[in-house]
């Protein structure tokens, strides 16, 4: 029965991983850019919630809304500065352009916040059902992640702007011919991706300690999840997040915890090789 507790714990975490990966996969799907500034943006999201909570005592979940809006704006700014000029260049250029943003954020963040771990001291108690005990903050985080996914889905499939995003993702030049302002849509999509990263960071801050560097771990996890769910498939990312969360929950029962990343990255490489469209993606 103990295993159930591990799995539930992992799954709840998986929702949050899923949100982070969804941001990465959305950007990839719309503009074929691997965003290497994803990790630092996740960390900035954590810091946003932390600063609002510690300085003016704002409720972390209310702070999360502000952090999300800031994430959207920061993303659009990053797109305008770093990506727009190289959007049609080879992959190496966009990889390095986003990596330079990564360096800038980490450099400034280290100078401003140092690398001492921070925590948001906020508790929602815990919930017990049979053998399973879950922390309130994790449960709320999973619910928030589900809500965000639902909203994203509604946005992409039920609004005109969402339709534009999908159109640009599908075929940029055809979308332009139809009168869709593709540059603005690309900027907006990049903003959406970073917004999801910032939300994930904010949620992580409510239950894990973090530094400006800790985003890197979640960025790597996001890569694994994106590949599990199929690059460019936002809903696949949530499913991939759950799979990863479950794996992280179950493996420590059988092997030392340090083996978890070995298996994760082996799985990552194998899926890339055998089924690059992801576990849940349609075969191309």
């Amino acid at each position: 029965m103990e295993i159930l507790a591990f799995v539930v714990d992992g799954l709840l975490l998986g929702f949050v991983y899923g949100i982070a990966a969804m941001g990465l996969t959305l950007i990839w799907g719309v503009m074929n850019v691997i965003n290497l500034s994803h990790g630092p943006i996740i960390a900035l999201g954590s810091f946003g919630v932390y600063l609002l909570f510690t300085s003016i005592g704002m409720n972390p979940y209310l702070a999360l809304v502000l952090v999300a809006i800031a994430g959207l704006l920061v993303g659009m700014l990053v797109y305008a500065i770093a990506i727009h000029r190289v959007i049609n260049a080879p992959h190496l250029s966009t990889l390095l352009a986003t990596f330079s943003i990564n360096m800038i954020i980490i450099g400034l963040g280290t100078a401003l916040f140092t690398t001492t771990p921070r925590t948001v001291n906020y508790s929602l108690g815990s919930l017990t059902a049979g053998p399973v005990t879950v922390l309130g903050t994790r449960l709320v985080a999973a619910l928030a992640a589900t809500l965000v996914t639902g909203l994203l889905y509604l946005f992409l499939y039920r609004t005109t702007l969402g339709k534009y995003v999908r159109a640009v993702a599908n075929n940029r030049s055809a979308a332009e011919l139809m009168g869709i302002p593709s540059s603005r849509i690309l900027a907006f999509s990049f903003g959406l991706g970073t917004m999801l990263a910032a939300i994930a960071g904010g949620l992580i801050a409510t239950f894990f300690p973090f530094t400006i560097l800790s985003g890197g771990v979640y960025e790597l996890k996001s890569f694994v999840i994106c590949v599990l769910g199929g690059l460019g498939n936002p809903l696949g990312a949530l499913a991939g997040g759950l799979v990863l969360g479950a794996i992280e929950g179950i493996i420590p029962k059988f092997l030392p915890t340090t083996w978890v990343p070995v298996l994760e990255f082996l799985l990552f490489i194998i899926i890339l090789l055998v089924r690059p469209s992801g576990l849940f993606g349609a075969k191309k």
Binding site: T258, V262, L273
Partner: protein, 322 residues
């Protein structure tokens, strides 16, 4: 061979050699350390350029070959009690073998998928070695101080490592030039421009790509042994630092990818800049940010890198700048 009549390659080798002997003539340990870092970067960047610049495959986790070489070499020295020479060869071969085995599989992936796979390889190897008992797990391997006695004491060992590094650095430039001016290199560049067309024209792409990947892994494995021999210990977190891997990409981009001179210039320039930023009172806290901003400006405005830019501007130099 006609290619050796090019003055550019002799000039490059001459300048690198001249800079390298400077610390030997002055016998200054401080300038030797500076040059050590630069030459190390030259080897790594030039090797990376073979798969990245010539073939067009973005190897993001190339540092895995440096770290693996270092691990195998230090294991051979400390547990198997072999000499440094044999360990260097062992480290190079181990890296080459991994590249050969992986190459067949992951070089099938193109573009960003390949880049992601190489990140995965680096992280998987790091995580594995973290658990691998013979390599010391998370603690890594530390060399016993007595090891250095065979080479005339610690100071003498540092100099020995430096001499060997000079040789490997010059070798890496020669290798880079030989690959570029050979028919094999022509095949690589054909793959970079259009892989499907290259295949139709008779380039056996899976073989050619794999050999390019192996060639780009050997020297990083060898200098990995040298670096960690000099360092005295090796740990998983240090040996497979993804950040360093990306810094190598930056060096190649700075100098100009796909050229012989570019990675050499980029490596030296980047390390010089980094040294300056780290010691300058104004920038030392935010050196990473300043480096990032500079990188961004180069990517946005001079994507061909320094050598590429000069070649583009001054067509006369195209024949001489390798």
């Amino acid at each position: 061979m006609n290619a050796w009549r090019n003055p550019g390659i002799w000039l490059t080798l001459g300048v690198v050699a001249a800079f390298s002997v400077w610390p030997i003539l002055t016998q200054k340990a401080a300038s030797r350390e500076v040059l050590f870092t630069m030459l190390l970067s030259v080897v790594l960047a030039s090797s990376l350029n073979i798969i990245l610049g010539y073939t067009g495959y973005v190897s993001f986790g190339h540092i895995v070959y440096f770290g693996l070489g270092g691990y195998v070499g230090l294991y051979m020295i400390s547990s198997l009690k072999v000499t440094l020479w044999l360990a260097i060869i062992g480290g190079g071969l181990a890296s080459a073998l991994l590249a050969f085995l992986l190459g067949r599989a992951i070089l099938r992936l193109r573009g960003a998928y390949f880049a992601l796979a190489t990140i995965g390889v680096n992280e998987a190897v790091r995580a594995f070695i973290n658990n691998f008992k013979p390599f010391g797990g998370p603690i890594g391997i530390s060399l016993n101080f007595n090891v250095y006695k065979d080479y005339g004491g610690a100071t003498q060992s540092l100099w020995l490592a430096y001499y060997l590094l000079i040789a490997i650095a010059l070798g890496s430039i020669v290798l880079s030039y030989v690959v570029k001016s050979s028919k094999f290199g022509l095949g690589l560049r054909a793959i970079r421009e259009d892989e499907d067309a290259a295949e139709v024209m008779g380039v056996i792409t899976p073989d050619v790509k794999t050999w390019a990947y192996v060639l780009s892994a050997i020297l990083p494995g060898m200098v990995g042994v040298l670096f960690y021999f000099k360092n005295g210990n090796i740990e998983p977190g240090d040996a497979f630092r993804l950040h360093f891997s990306i810094e190598l990409l930056v060096m190649v981009m700075l100098g100009g990818y796909g050229t012989v001179l570019g990675p050499v210039l980029g490596a030296a320039g980047y390390q010089r800049l980094r040294g300056f930023l780290l010691t300058s009172p104004l920038f030392k806290d935010i050196q990473l940010s300043v480096a990032g901003a500079l990188l961004l400006l180069i990517i946005l405005f001079i994507p061909a890198g320094a050598v590429g830019w000069i070649r583009h501007r001054v067509p006369v130099l195209r024949k001489v700048l390798p």
